[in-house]
Symmetry: C2
Subunit: 216 residues, 2 copies
DNA sequence: TGCGTACGCGTTGTATCTATGATGTGCGCA
DNA sequence: TGCGCACATCATAGATACAACGCGTACGCA
């Protein structure tokens, strides 16, 4: 008799389902989800669904309207601007704090960059995106501020959602990303805080212009 | 027959109840709340209690342990440092952006300062604290970044919780606060961004030293 | 024909009930 | 006396049932 595979909690399953749906645009911005639908879709009751929706609202992906449903927030120009501005603020702050960089941090970043190169070479776009994300998160995490780290993770989620379309339209971007990461790493190693900040500023803001055009 | 007063939703009542309890230290840090207790205390069923606890966890006031209960997070030195650092980051950023200050912003800040003075003179400590909070929030809100505004509100909640004890131990602090607010306002009006930032930096960090001593 | 009202459906909000897992305690055995 | 196992207790996790509310629609009346 096989030991019964322990499913992750129902609430987490719903959470993952909805988040994926929203991030991958399977649920369009502006769509109105109802608890019943989701419950059926995932195969659980409405109780865990409510939990998941609550968490997602706290993250800013959806907005709950009483007695109406969960609105998948459409990405607005305002949101893009806010996300980019906040990312810059948090990440540049962390970078300043990270100089001079510890050997551990440098090693970890190097490893991540290496991995991303391999993934890019292998055409694994999704994997490269994940690694890219880790690269930046690692810098922020090195600041040791839990509040900022959590915030940053949420920002990356939201940006991911805006970025899917843009990314596909600019496949060469991955190369630029790699180069820029190398520059950042080099600047970190040399201990030039302002250079790091400048590079990150440019690196983060690259698509704010592009994205702006996409959403009008 | 009076039209029955419409109660706010049960979930909101629980949320407010717990939040108050935690912020005012009626629920001590380290205490383990159970859904059943809270449900009885507020007079609702456990379902809305869960909702409230979820929201509070997202705000970082409590931590939910599966099958155990809701732990009221004790304020740690780490948390104090994180909150202060993040407040400085957000508020200084907003201040830089706010220069040169719009007449509307200046007017609003003046009004708030005036009100706080009156409250302080009348001995209305709680009211003055609320107004103080609005003063800072107004500056951040003027930046027009919703993400940062929301974050900032949460930070003020958490700081409020740490600050109660400290505040009572230093009743003269209110006077200093007023003076500093006036300085900030003056600097804003003169358009000297760096002066504003410097003042805010000092103003926000004033108690990080004090608080550190209190929690060991 | 135009407006106002009443009804019906769909959705969330809340309560209650059951299942399951965690924890501490006490008994039995070595 | 010390260790280990079984059980009682209590918490959450989830499902289900019910109530309340909002909104659109259709009907009736002027």
């Amino acid at each position: 008799m096989r030991p019964p595979v322990k499913q992750p909690p129902a609430a987490d399953r719903v959470y993952a389902h909805v988040k994926e749906g929203v991030l991958e645009r399977r649920y369009e911005g502006g769509a109105l989800l109802t608890e019943g639908e989701l419950a059926d879709a995932v195969g659980v009751s409405r109780t865990p669904v409510r939990e998941a929706l609550l968490r997602l609202e706290a993250e800013g992906l959806i907005k709950l309207y009483p007695k109406k449903g969960a609105l998948v927030l459409p990405v607005s120009a305002q949101e893009i601007a806010d996300v980019v501005e906040t990312r810059q603020l948090v990440e540049e702050h962390a970078a300043r704090k990270a100089v001079p960089a510890s050997p551990q941090l440098l090693a970890r970043l190097e490893e991540l960059l290496e991995r991303q190169k391999e993934q890019a070479a292998a055409g694994d776009l999704a994997g490269a995106a994940v690694t890219d994300r880790c690269f930046h998160a690692e810098i922020v995490r090195s600041g040791g501020n839990e509040i900022l780290s959590r915030l940053y993770d949420q920002l990356r989620d939201r940006q991911l959602r805006m970025g899917v379309a843009v990314m596909h339209a600019h496949p060469d971007r991955i190369t630029k990303t790699l180069v820029e990461h190398e520059q950042i790493l080099r600047a970190l190693r040399s201990g030039d805080a302002e250079a790091v900040v400048g590079l990150i500023h440019g690196h983060v803001s690259w698509f704010s212009n592009l994205a702006r055009g996409e959403v009008r």
